[in-house]
Protein backbone atom coordinates (compact mmCIF):
# COMPACT_ATOMS: atom_id res chain seq x y z
CA UNK A 1 0.00 0.00 0.00
CA UNK A 2 1.37 3.35 -1.01
CA UNK A 3 1.22 6.33 1.29
CA UNK A 4 0.33 9.89 0.44
CA UNK A 5 3.02 12.51 0.17
CA UNK A 6 2.35 16.21 -0.15
CA UNK A 7 4.59 17.90 -2.76
CA UNK A 8 4.84 21.67 -2.79
CA UNK A 9 6.37 23.79 -5.53
CA UNK A 10 8.23 26.74 -4.01
CA UNK A 11 10.05 29.71 -5.32
CA UNK A 12 13.57 29.92 -3.97
CA UNK A 13 12.83 32.99 -1.93
CA UNK A 14 13.15 33.42 1.79
CA UNK A 15 9.84 33.35 3.60
CA UNK A 16 8.08 31.04 1.16
CA UNK A 17 8.86 27.93 3.17
CA UNK A 18 7.91 29.52 6.50
CA UNK A 19 4.54 30.62 5.11
CA UNK A 20 3.71 27.10 3.98
CA UNK A 21 4.81 25.47 7.24
CA UNK A 22 2.86 28.03 9.25
CA UNK A 23 -0.33 27.25 7.37
CA UNK A 24 0.11 23.58 8.22
CA UNK A 25 0.60 24.41 11.90
CA UNK A 26 -2.50 26.65 11.89
CA UNK A 27 -4.49 23.72 10.53
CA UNK A 28 -3.08 21.34 13.18
CA UNK A 29 -1.36 19.23 10.59
CA UNK A 30 1.60 17.35 11.97
CA UNK A 31 4.70 16.94 9.83
CA UNK A 32 6.07 13.42 10.12
CA UNK A 33 8.91 13.77 7.63
CA UNK A 34 10.15 16.22 5.06
CA UNK A 35 12.76 16.73 2.42
CA UNK A 36 13.53 19.60 0.10
CA UNK A 37 15.01 19.33 -3.36
CA UNK A 38 16.13 22.61 -4.73
CA UNK A 39 17.67 24.11 -7.82
CA UNK A 40 18.80 27.67 -8.42
CA UNK A 41 15.27 28.78 -9.24
CA UNK A 42 12.79 26.58 -7.48
CA UNK A 43 12.43 24.07 -4.72
CA UNK A 44 10.14 21.11 -4.23
CA UNK A 45 9.15 20.43 -0.68
CA UNK A 46 8.05 16.89 0.06
CA UNK A 47 6.15 16.15 3.22
CA UNK A 48 4.69 13.17 4.97
CA UNK A 49 1.97 14.70 7.10
CA UNK A 50 -0.81 13.50 9.33
CA UNK A 51 -3.43 14.24 6.64
CA UNK A 52 -2.12 14.92 3.14
CA UNK A 53 -5.48 15.80 1.54
CA UNK A 54 -6.39 18.20 4.33
CA UNK A 55 -2.95 19.78 4.01
CA UNK A 56 -3.39 20.18 0.26
CA UNK A 57 -6.73 21.92 0.74
CA UNK A 58 -5.24 24.19 3.37
CA UNK A 59 -2.31 25.16 1.16
CA UNK A 60 -3.96 25.29 -2.24
CA UNK A 61 -4.72 29.03 -2.16
CA UNK A 62 -1.16 29.79 -1.19
CA UNK A 63 1.11 27.45 -3.11
CA UNK A 64 1.07 24.95 -5.94
CA UNK A 65 0.88 21.50 -4.38
CA UNK A 66 -0.04 17.98 -5.24
CA UNK A 67 -0.56 14.69 -3.44
CA UNK A 68 1.71 11.95 -4.75
CA UNK A 69 1.68 8.27 -3.88
CA UNK A 70 5.01 7.08 -2.52
CA UNK A 71 6.21 3.97 -0.73
CA UNK A 72 7.18 4.00 2.91
CA UNK A 73 9.16 1.09 4.33
CA UNK A 74 9.80 0.34 7.96
CA UNK A 75 13.30 -0.82 8.85
CA UNK A 76 15.46 -1.51 11.84
CA UNK A 77 17.25 1.56 13.14
CA UNK A 78 20.65 -0.02 12.63
CA UNK A 79 23.57 -0.03 10.24
CA UNK A 80 22.94 -1.75 6.92
CA UNK A 81 19.14 -1.77 7.15
CA UNK A 82 18.70 0.61 4.22
CA UNK A 83 21.27 -1.30 2.19
CA UNK A 84 19.13 -4.41 2.11
CA UNK A 85 16.11 -2.51 0.78
CA UNK A 86 18.06 -0.69 -1.91
CA UNK A 87 19.72 -3.90 -2.95
CA UNK A 88 16.38 -5.60 -3.53
CA UNK A 89 15.13 -2.73 -5.68
CA UNK A 90 18.37 -2.46 -7.58
CA UNK A 91 18.37 -6.15 -8.44
CA UNK A 92 14.83 -5.76 -9.78
CA UNK A 93 15.98 -2.82 -11.93
CA UNK A 94 13.71 -0.39 -10.13
CA UNK A 95 14.95 3.16 -10.42
CA UNK A 96 14.54 5.40 -7.38
CA UNK A 97 13.71 9.00 -8.29
CA UNK A 98 14.34 10.25 -4.77
CA UNK A 99 14.20 9.03 -1.17
CA UNK A 100 14.39 10.32 2.36
CA UNK A 101 14.34 8.75 5.80
CA UNK A 102 12.72 9.54 9.12
CA UNK A 103 12.53 8.01 12.56
CA UNK A 104 9.65 7.55 14.99
CA UNK A 105 9.16 6.12 18.46
CA UNK A 106 7.92 2.73 17.23
CA UNK A 107 9.26 -0.79 17.65
CA UNK A 108 11.68 -0.66 14.73
CA UNK A 109 11.98 3.10 14.78
CA UNK A 110 13.28 3.88 11.27
CA UNK A 111 11.47 4.49 7.97
CA UNK A 112 12.43 5.33 4.42
CA UNK A 113 10.21 7.00 1.83
CA UNK A 114 10.83 5.94 -1.75
CA UNK A 115 9.62 7.57 -4.97
CA UNK A 116 9.59 5.09 -7.84
CA UNK A 117 7.80 5.10 -11.17
CA UNK A 118 5.54 2.17 -10.48
CA UNK A 119 4.55 1.72 -6.86
CA UNK A 120 2.78 -1.62 -7.29
CA UNK A 121 5.76 -3.24 -9.02
CA UNK A 122 8.15 -1.99 -6.35
CA UNK A 123 5.81 -3.12 -3.57
CA UNK A 124 5.44 -6.62 -4.93
CA UNK A 125 9.22 -6.93 -5.30
CA UNK A 126 9.69 -5.77 -1.71
CA UNK A 127 6.97 -8.08 -0.48
CA UNK A 128 8.54 -11.07 -2.23
CA UNK A 129 11.70 -10.29 -0.31
CA UNK A 130 9.89 -10.07 3.00
CA UNK A 131 9.94 -6.30 3.25
CA UNK A 132 6.59 -4.79 4.27
CA UNK A 133 5.40 -1.35 3.18
CA UNK A 134 3.30 1.00 5.26
CA UNK A 135 -0.20 2.15 4.50
CA UNK A 136 -1.79 5.48 5.36
CA UNK A 137 -3.54 4.15 8.45
CA UNK A 138 -0.33 2.88 9.94
CA UNK A 139 1.31 6.17 9.18
CA UNK A 140 -1.44 8.19 10.82
CA UNK A 141 -1.36 6.06 13.98
CA UNK A 142 2.30 6.85 14.61
Amino acid sequence: MAVKQLSVFLENKSGKLIDAVKTLADNKINIRAMSIADTKDFGILRLIVSDAEKAKTALSDQVLCAVTDVIAVEMKDEAGALCGILDVLNKANINIEYMYAFTASTANGAYVVLRVDDNSVAESVLKKNGIATLNNDELQKM
Binding site: F9, L10, E11, T39, F42, I44, L64, A66, R115
Partner: protein
Protein backbone atom coordinates in the same frame (compact mmCIF):
# COMPACT_ATOMS: atom_id res chain seq x y z
CA UNK B 1 -7.24 33.31 -61.86
CA UNK B 2 -7.71 36.98 -61.11
CA UNK B 3 -10.77 38.97 -60.11
CA UNK B 4 -9.55 42.16 -61.82
CA UNK B 5 -6.78 40.92 -64.15
CA UNK B 6 -5.94 44.31 -65.72
CA UNK B 7 -5.01 45.92 -62.43
CA UNK B 8 -3.77 42.82 -60.60
CA UNK B 9 -1.22 42.09 -63.32
CA UNK B 10 -0.56 45.66 -64.45
CA UNK B 11 3.04 46.65 -65.11
CA UNK B 12 4.96 48.42 -62.41
CA UNK B 13 4.85 51.62 -64.49
CA UNK B 14 1.07 51.47 -64.78
CA UNK B 15 0.66 50.88 -61.04
CA UNK B 16 2.97 53.76 -60.26
CA UNK B 17 1.10 56.02 -62.65
CA UNK B 18 -2.22 55.19 -60.97
CA UNK B 19 -0.74 55.70 -57.50
CA UNK B 20 0.80 59.04 -58.44
CA UNK B 21 -2.49 60.34 -59.82
CA UNK B 22 -4.43 59.13 -56.80
CA UNK B 23 -2.10 60.45 -54.11
CA UNK B 24 -2.24 64.01 -55.41
CA UNK B 25 -6.04 63.95 -55.31
CA UNK B 26 -6.20 62.13 -51.98
CA UNK B 27 -3.88 64.52 -50.15
CA UNK B 28 -5.95 67.44 -51.44
CA UNK B 29 -9.14 65.65 -50.31
CA UNK B 30 -7.76 65.07 -46.83
CA UNK B 31 -6.29 68.56 -46.47
CA UNK B 32 -9.58 70.16 -47.46
CA UNK B 33 -11.84 67.91 -45.36
CA UNK B 34 -9.96 66.58 -42.34
CA UNK B 35 -9.02 69.39 -39.99
CA UNK B 36 -7.09 67.06 -37.69
CA UNK B 37 -4.71 66.05 -40.49
CA UNK B 38 -4.58 69.54 -41.99
CA UNK B 39 -3.26 70.76 -38.63
CA UNK B 40 -0.61 68.03 -38.63
CA UNK B 41 0.48 69.00 -42.17
CA UNK B 42 0.54 72.69 -41.33
CA UNK B 43 2.59 71.96 -38.23
CA UNK B 44 5.09 70.03 -40.38
CA UNK B 45 5.03 72.76 -43.03
CA UNK B 46 3.75 70.48 -45.80
CA UNK B 47 1.26 71.81 -48.34
CA UNK B 48 -0.92 69.62 -50.56
CA UNK B 49 0.94 70.96 -53.62
CA UNK B 50 4.20 69.57 -52.22
CA UNK B 51 2.88 66.07 -52.89
CA UNK B 52 3.33 65.42 -56.60
CA UNK B 53 3.92 61.66 -56.55
CA UNK B 54 4.19 58.74 -54.15
CA UNK B 55 7.85 59.66 -53.69
CA UNK B 56 6.64 62.70 -51.78
CA UNK B 57 4.54 60.66 -49.33
CA UNK B 58 7.55 60.53 -47.02
CA UNK B 59 7.08 64.26 -46.42
CA UNK B 60 3.67 63.68 -44.85
CA UNK B 61 3.12 63.34 -41.10
CA UNK B 62 2.33 59.94 -39.62
CA UNK B 63 -0.93 58.94 -38.01
CA UNK B 64 -0.85 56.57 -35.06
CA UNK B 65 -3.34 54.73 -32.92
CA UNK B 66 -3.01 57.62 -30.45
CA UNK B 67 -4.22 60.05 -33.14
CA UNK B 68 -7.23 57.85 -33.71
CA UNK B 69 -7.98 58.00 -30.01
CA UNK B 70 -7.56 61.78 -29.91
CA UNK B 71 -9.76 62.27 -32.94
CA UNK B 72 -12.45 59.82 -31.76
CA UNK B 73 -15.08 59.60 -33.07
CA UNK B 74 -15.44 62.10 -35.94
CA UNK B 75 -12.05 63.86 -36.07
CA UNK B 76 -10.69 61.94 -39.04
CA UNK B 77 -13.90 61.84 -41.01
CA UNK B 78 -13.24 62.85 -44.63
CA UNK B 79 -16.79 63.53 -45.74
CA UNK B 80 -20.21 64.53 -44.43
CA UNK B 81 -21.91 61.89 -42.29
CA UNK B 82 -24.83 61.98 -44.71
CA UNK B 83 -22.52 60.46 -47.35
CA UNK B 84 -21.54 57.59 -45.02
CA UNK B 85 -23.48 54.36 -45.02
CA UNK B 86 -21.70 52.23 -42.43
CA UNK B 87 -19.52 52.09 -39.35
CA UNK B 88 -17.20 49.23 -38.47
CA UNK B 89 -15.18 48.97 -35.32
CA UNK B 90 -12.31 47.17 -33.65
CA UNK B 91 -12.69 44.92 -30.65
CA UNK B 92 -11.16 47.66 -28.52
CA UNK B 93 -8.91 45.33 -26.54
CA UNK B 94 -6.27 48.04 -26.24
CA UNK B 95 -7.64 51.39 -25.22
CA UNK B 96 -10.58 53.05 -26.87
CA UNK B 97 -12.03 51.26 -29.85
CA UNK B 98 -11.49 52.55 -33.37
CA UNK B 99 -14.58 53.47 -35.35
CA UNK B 100 -14.16 53.63 -39.12
CA UNK B 101 -16.66 55.18 -41.51
CA UNK B 102 -17.52 54.04 -45.03
CA UNK B 103 -19.25 55.55 -48.02
CA UNK B 104 -20.86 53.13 -50.46
CA UNK B 105 -17.82 53.53 -52.72
CA UNK B 106 -15.50 52.68 -49.81
CA UNK B 107 -17.47 49.50 -49.19
CA UNK B 108 -17.45 48.56 -52.88
CA UNK B 109 -13.67 48.92 -53.10
CA UNK B 110 -13.16 47.02 -49.86
CA UNK B 111 -15.37 44.19 -51.07
CA UNK B 112 -13.49 44.13 -54.36
CA UNK B 113 -10.27 43.65 -52.41
CA UNK B 114 -11.85 40.69 -50.60
CA UNK B 115 -13.12 39.36 -53.94
CA UNK B 116 -9.53 39.43 -55.27
CA UNK B 117 -8.50 37.35 -52.25
CA UNK B 118 -11.26 34.80 -52.84
CA UNK B 119 -10.48 34.45 -56.55
CA UNK B 120 -6.78 34.14 -55.71
CA UNK B 121 -7.50 30.95 -53.76
CA UNK B 122 -9.50 29.54 -56.66
CA UNK B 123 -12.95 30.95 -55.89
CA UNK B 124 -15.54 31.22 -58.68
CA UNK B 125 -19.33 31.52 -58.91
CA UNK B 126 -19.48 27.74 -58.57
CA UNK B 127 -18.10 27.84 -55.05
CA UNK B 128 -19.91 27.72 -51.72
CA UNK B 129 -18.17 30.15 -49.40
CA UNK B 130 -18.68 29.64 -45.67
CA UNK B 131 -17.87 32.81 -43.74
CA UNK B 132 -17.44 32.18 -40.04
CA UNK B 133 -15.70 35.38 -39.09
CA UNK B 134 -17.85 37.40 -36.71
CA UNK B 135 -20.48 39.54 -38.42
CA UNK B 136 -21.44 42.97 -37.20
CA UNK B 137 -19.04 45.69 -36.10
CA UNK B 138 -16.03 43.44 -36.69
CA UNK B 139 -14.77 43.81 -40.27
CA UNK B 140 -14.01 40.10 -40.81
CA UNK B 141 -17.50 38.82 -41.49
CA UNK B 142 -18.83 41.81 -43.43
CA UNK B 143 -15.71 42.09 -45.62
CA UNK B 144 -15.50 38.47 -46.73
CA UNK B 145 -19.29 38.31 -47.06
CA UNK B 146 -19.18 41.22 -49.50
CA UNK B 147 -16.23 39.76 -51.38
CA UNK B 148 -17.97 36.43 -51.69
CA UNK B 149 -21.06 38.12 -53.17
CA UNK B 150 -18.92 40.03 -55.68
CA UNK B 151 -17.30 36.79 -56.86
CA UNK B 152 -20.75 35.21 -57.10
CA UNK B 153 -20.10 32.42 -54.63
CA UNK B 154 -23.05 30.93 -52.82
CA UNK B 155 -22.41 32.58 -49.48
CA UNK B 156 -23.05 30.96 -46.10
CA UNK B 157 -23.11 33.89 -43.65
CA UNK B 158 -22.50 31.75 -40.58
CA UNK B 159 -20.71 34.25 -38.36
CA UNK B 160 -18.57 32.78 -35.58
CA UNK B 161 -19.37 30.11 -33.02
CA UNK B 162 -21.84 27.21 -32.82
CA UNK B 163 -19.36 24.74 -34.26
CA UNK B 164 -21.88 21.94 -34.49
CA UNK B 165 -24.03 24.04 -36.83
CA UNK B 166 -20.94 25.16 -38.78
CA UNK B 167 -20.06 21.53 -39.42
CA UNK B 168 -23.64 20.62 -40.34
CA UNK B 169 -23.86 23.40 -42.94
CA UNK B 170 -20.36 22.68 -44.20
CA UNK B 171 -21.17 19.03 -44.81
CA UNK B 172 -24.81 19.30 -45.91
CA UNK B 173 -24.36 22.28 -48.23
CA UNK B 174 -20.94 21.29 -49.59
CA UNK B 175 -18.93 24.35 -48.59
CA UNK B 176 -15.79 24.66 -50.72
CA UNK B 177 -14.15 27.76 -49.24
CA UNK B 178 -13.84 28.48 -45.54
CA UNK B 179 -13.19 31.99 -44.15
CA UNK B 180 -12.41 32.37 -40.44
CA UNK B 181 -9.59 32.91 -37.97
CA UNK B 182 -6.82 30.30 -38.16
CA UNK B 183 -7.48 29.20 -34.59
CA UNK B 184 -11.14 28.60 -35.39
CA UNK B 185 -10.15 26.68 -38.54
CA UNK B 186 -7.94 24.46 -36.38
CA UNK B 187 -10.83 23.98 -33.97
CA UNK B 188 -13.24 23.07 -36.77
CA UNK B 189 -10.65 20.55 -37.99
CA UNK B 190 -10.50 18.93 -34.55
CA UNK B 191 -14.27 18.94 -34.21
CA UNK B 192 -14.70 17.29 -37.62
CA UNK B 193 -12.29 14.54 -36.57
CA UNK B 194 -14.14 14.09 -33.27
CA UNK B 195 -17.41 13.78 -35.17
CA UNK B 196 -15.81 10.93 -37.12
CA UNK B 197 -15.12 12.75 -40.40
CA UNK B 198 -11.91 12.20 -42.32
CA UNK B 199 -10.22 15.18 -44.05
CA UNK B 200 -11.36 13.91 -47.47
CA UNK B 201 -15.01 13.71 -46.38
CA UNK B 202 -15.62 17.45 -46.74
CA UNK B 203 -15.78 19.38 -50.04
CA UNK B 204 -13.55 22.21 -48.88
CA UNK B 205 -10.66 23.12 -51.17
CA UNK B 206 -9.33 26.33 -49.67
CA UNK B 207 -9.44 28.49 -46.57
CA UNK B 208 -8.84 32.21 -46.09
CA UNK B 209 -7.62 32.76 -42.58
CA UNK B 210 -6.64 36.00 -40.90
CA UNK B 211 -7.27 38.52 -38.12
CA UNK B 212 -4.70 36.94 -35.82
CA UNK B 213 -1.08 35.81 -36.04
CA UNK B 214 -0.43 32.24 -37.09
CA UNK B 215 2.61 30.19 -37.95
CA UNK B 216 3.66 27.99 -40.87
CA UNK B 217 3.30 24.97 -38.55
CA UNK B 218 -0.29 25.97 -37.93
CA UNK B 219 -0.87 26.32 -41.68
CA UNK B 220 0.38 22.79 -42.32
CA UNK B 221 -1.67 21.36 -39.50
CA UNK B 222 -4.89 23.09 -40.68
CA UNK B 223 -4.23 21.98 -44.27
CA UNK B 224 -3.86 18.41 -43.09
CA UNK B 225 -6.85 18.31 -40.79
CA UNK B 226 -9.27 19.89 -43.30
CA UNK B 227 -7.68 18.55 -46.49
CA UNK B 228 -7.38 22.05 -47.98
CA UNK B 229 -4.92 24.77 -48.97
CA UNK B 230 -4.78 27.47 -46.28
CA UNK B 231 -4.18 31.11 -47.24
CA UNK B 232 -3.41 34.20 -45.22
CA UNK B 233 -5.27 37.50 -45.50
CA UNK B 234 -4.34 40.84 -43.95
CA UNK B 235 -6.16 44.01 -43.09
CA UNK B 236 -7.15 46.32 -40.33
CA UNK B 237 -10.24 48.31 -39.55
CA UNK B 238 -8.27 51.55 -39.85
CA UNK B 239 -7.58 50.91 -43.54
CA UNK B 240 -10.93 49.17 -44.31
CA UNK B 241 -10.74 45.60 -43.07
CA UNK B 242 -9.48 42.27 -44.42
CA UNK B 243 -8.30 42.29 -48.01
CA UNK B 244 -5.70 45.03 -47.81
CA UNK B 245 -3.34 42.19 -48.70
CA UNK B 246 -3.93 38.53 -49.50
CA UNK B 247 -2.01 35.41 -50.31
CA UNK B 248 -1.97 33.87 -53.77
CA UNK B 249 -1.33 30.26 -54.82
CA UNK B 250 2.41 30.73 -54.16
CA UNK B 251 1.65 30.90 -50.40
CA UNK B 252 4.72 33.08 -49.93
CA UNK B 253 3.71 36.53 -48.78
CA UNK B 254 0.58 38.59 -49.33
CA UNK B 255 0.00 40.85 -52.33
CA UNK B 256 -0.96 44.34 -51.19
CA UNK B 257 -3.76 45.92 -53.23
CA UNK B 258 -1.45 48.71 -54.28
CA UNK B 259 -3.96 50.52 -56.43
CA UNK B 260 -5.86 51.31 -53.21
CA UNK B 261 -3.18 51.27 -50.52
CA UNK B 262 0.35 52.62 -50.70
CA UNK B 263 2.69 50.71 -48.38
CA UNK B 264 5.94 51.85 -46.79
CA UNK B 265 8.31 50.17 -44.37
CA UNK B 266 9.82 52.52 -41.82
CA UNK B 267 12.29 52.32 -38.99
CA UNK B 268 9.94 52.34 -35.98
CA UNK B 269 12.39 54.42 -33.94
CA UNK B 270 13.37 57.11 -36.43
CA UNK B 271 10.39 57.07 -38.79
CA UNK B 272 12.80 56.89 -41.72
CA UNK B 273 11.63 54.99 -44.80
CA UNK B 274 13.61 51.76 -45.26
CA UNK B 275 14.61 50.23 -48.60
CA UNK B 276 12.77 47.23 -50.01
CA UNK B 277 13.61 43.98 -48.28
CA UNK B 278 14.35 45.51 -44.90
CA UNK B 279 12.35 44.63 -41.84
CA UNK B 280 10.42 47.47 -40.25
CA UNK B 281 7.02 48.90 -39.40
CA UNK B 282 4.34 48.76 -42.06
CA UNK B 283 2.71 52.10 -42.89
CA UNK B 284 -0.36 52.48 -45.10
CA UNK B 285 -1.69 55.41 -47.06
CA UNK B 286 -5.18 54.88 -48.40
CA UNK B 287 -5.41 56.19 -51.96
CA UNK B 288 -9.17 55.95 -52.47
CA UNK B 289 -10.94 56.07 -49.14
CA UNK B 290 -13.52 58.84 -48.93
CA UNK B 291 -14.97 58.57 -45.44
CA UNK B 292 -11.97 57.49 -43.41
CA UNK B 293 -8.96 58.49 -45.51
CA UNK B 294 -5.92 57.75 -43.36
CA UNK B 295 -2.57 58.92 -44.69
CA UNK B 296 0.65 57.30 -43.44
CA UNK B 297 -1.07 55.22 -40.80
CA UNK B 298 1.42 53.33 -38.67
CA UNK B 299 0.09 49.78 -38.31
CA UNK B 300 2.72 48.81 -35.69
CA UNK B 301 3.05 45.51 -37.57
CA UNK B 302 6.63 44.60 -38.35
CA UNK B 303 7.18 42.98 -41.73
CA UNK B 304 9.16 43.01 -44.97
CA UNK B 305 8.04 44.12 -48.45
CA UNK B 306 9.24 42.48 -51.63
CA UNK B 307 8.65 43.28 -55.31
CA UNK B 308 10.22 40.05 -56.50
CA UNK B 309 8.31 38.57 -59.42
CA UNK B 310 5.58 36.25 -58.16
CA UNK B 311 4.79 32.95 -59.92
CA UNK B 312 1.06 33.77 -59.82
CA UNK B 313 1.51 36.61 -62.31
CA UNK B 314 0.36 39.36 -59.94
CA UNK B 315 2.58 42.41 -59.96
CA UNK B 316 1.54 44.00 -56.68
CA UNK B 317 4.12 44.22 -53.92
CA UNK B 318 4.10 41.43 -51.35
CA UNK B 319 4.29 41.77 -47.58
CA UNK B 320 5.53 39.04 -45.29
CA UNK B 321 3.41 37.73 -42.46
CA UNK B 322 3.72 40.30 -39.63
CA UNK B 323 6.50 39.19 -37.31
CA UNK B 324 5.33 41.17 -34.31
CA UNK B 325 4.39 44.62 -33.09
CA UNK B 326 6.76 47.56 -33.32
CA UNK B 327 5.87 48.84 -29.88
CA UNK B 328 7.15 45.74 -28.19
CA UNK B 329 10.06 44.75 -30.41
CA UNK B 330 13.24 43.95 -28.50
CA UNK B 331 16.67 43.71 -30.03
CA UNK B 332 18.60 41.03 -28.19
CA UNK B 333 22.10 40.10 -29.37
CA UNK B 334 21.23 41.81 -32.62
CA UNK B 335 18.13 39.67 -33.18
CA UNK B 336 14.62 41.14 -33.22
CA UNK B 337 12.48 39.37 -30.65
CA UNK B 338 8.79 39.93 -29.99
CA UNK B 339 6.86 38.91 -26.88
CA UNK B 340 4.19 37.56 -29.24
CA UNK B 341 6.64 34.94 -30.54
CA UNK B 342 7.35 33.81 -27.01
CA UNK B 343 3.67 33.74 -26.17
CA UNK B 344 2.94 31.64 -29.26
CA UNK B 345 5.45 29.00 -28.14
CA UNK B 346 4.02 28.93 -24.62
CA UNK B 347 0.45 28.51 -25.80
CA UNK B 348 1.46 25.82 -28.31
CA UNK B 349 3.18 23.95 -25.49
CA UNK B 350 0.07 24.23 -23.25
CA UNK B 351 1.54 26.77 -20.83
CA UNK B 352 -0.55 29.65 -19.51
CA UNK B 353 0.11 33.08 -21.04
CA UNK B 354 1.50 34.20 -17.68
CA UNK B 355 5.11 35.00 -18.35
CA UNK B 356 7.70 37.67 -17.92
CA UNK B 357 10.65 38.44 -20.14
CA UNK B 358 13.75 39.86 -18.50
CA UNK B 359 16.47 41.23 -20.74
CA UNK B 360 19.77 42.20 -19.19
CA UNK B 361 23.39 42.72 -20.14
CA UNK B 362 26.03 40.63 -18.42
CA UNK B 363 29.70 40.98 -19.43
CA UNK B 364 28.67 43.01 -22.50
CA UNK B 365 26.41 40.27 -23.72
CA UNK B 366 22.61 40.40 -23.73
CA UNK B 367 20.78 37.83 -21.68
CA UNK B 368 17.19 36.72 -22.14
CA UNK B 369 15.38 35.11 -19.24
CA UNK B 370 11.80 33.96 -19.54
CA UNK B 371 9.82 33.30 -16.38
CA UNK B 372 6.76 31.16 -16.93
CA UNK B 373 4.13 30.25 -14.39
CA UNK B 374 3.65 26.54 -13.99
CA UNK B 375 0.13 25.12 -13.63
CA UNK B 376 -1.33 22.37 -11.50
CA UNK B 377 -1.43 20.09 -14.58
CA UNK B 378 2.28 20.65 -15.31
CA UNK B 379 3.48 20.32 -11.74
CA UNK B 380 5.42 17.23 -10.76
CA UNK B 381 7.04 16.24 -7.48
CA UNK B 382 10.15 15.25 -9.44
CA UNK B 383 12.82 17.92 -9.95
CA UNK B 384 13.93 16.18 -13.13
CA UNK B 385 10.47 16.62 -14.72
CA UNK B 386 10.48 20.37 -14.16
CA UNK B 387 14.04 20.70 -15.40
CA UNK B 388 13.22 18.65 -18.49
CA UNK B 389 10.27 20.97 -19.14
CA UNK B 390 12.53 24.01 -18.91
CA UNK B 391 15.06 22.47 -21.31
CA UNK B 392 12.35 21.53 -23.79
CA UNK B 393 10.92 25.06 -23.75
CA UNK B 394 14.39 26.53 -24.21
CA UNK B 395 14.99 24.35 -27.26
CA UNK B 396 11.66 25.30 -28.86
CA UNK B 397 12.23 28.99 -28.12
CA UNK B 398 15.72 28.83 -29.64
CA UNK B 399 14.27 27.48 -32.88
CA UNK B 400 11.52 30.09 -32.94
CA UNK B 401 13.50 33.16 -31.86
CA UNK B 402 16.92 32.48 -33.33
CA UNK B 403 18.55 33.05 -29.95
CA UNK B 404 18.62 30.87 -26.87
CA UNK B 405 16.80 32.06 -23.75
CA UNK B 406 16.97 30.70 -20.23
CA UNK B 407 13.56 29.46 -19.12
CA UNK B 408 12.53 29.47 -15.47
CA UNK B 409 9.34 27.80 -14.34
CA UNK B 410 7.86 29.61 -11.37
CA UNK B 411 4.86 29.03 -9.10
CA UNK B 412 1.46 30.42 -10.13
CA UNK B 413 0.68 34.06 -9.34
CA UNK B 414 4.33 34.97 -8.80
CA UNK B 415 4.70 37.09 -11.92
CA UNK B 416 4.26 40.73 -11.07
CA UNK B 417 0.98 42.17 -12.21
CA UNK B 418 0.05 45.79 -12.36
CA UNK B 419 -3.63 46.63 -12.47
CA UNK B 420 -4.37 43.00 -13.10
CA UNK B 421 -2.24 42.87 -16.23
CA UNK B 422 1.12 41.11 -16.18
CA UNK B 423 4.20 43.21 -16.87
CA UNK B 424 5.53 41.38 -19.91
CA UNK B 425 8.97 42.81 -20.47
CA UNK B 426 11.59 44.14 -18.10
CA UNK B 427 14.59 45.50 -19.96
CA UNK B 428 17.29 46.06 -17.38
CA UNK B 429 19.82 47.06 -20.04
CA UNK B 430 18.38 50.56 -19.95
CA UNK B 431 19.58 50.88 -16.38
CA UNK B 432 23.15 50.32 -17.51
CA UNK B 433 23.12 52.63 -20.51
Amino acid sequence: MYYQPEIETASREEILKIQNEKIVKQVRHVYDNVKYYRDLMDKKGVKPEDIKSVDDIKKLPFLTKADLRDAYPYGLLGTDLKNCVRIQSTSGTTGKRVVAFYTQKDIDLWEECCARAIVAVGGTNEDVCQVCYGYGLFTGGMGLNGGSHKVGCLTLPMSSGNTERQIQFMMDLNATILCCTPSYAAYIGESLAEAGYKPEDNKLKAGIFGAEPWTEEMRRSIEKSLGIKAYDIYGLTETSGPGVAFECEAQAGMHINEDHFYAEIIDPDTGEVLPEGEKGELVFTSLDKEAFPLLRYRTRDICVLTREKCSCGRTHVKMSKPMGRSDDMMIIRGVNVFPSQIETVLLNEKYPPNYQIVVDRVNNSDTLDIYVEITQELFSDKVSDTQAREKALEATMRTMLGIGPKVHLVPPKTITRSEGKAVRVIDKRKLHD
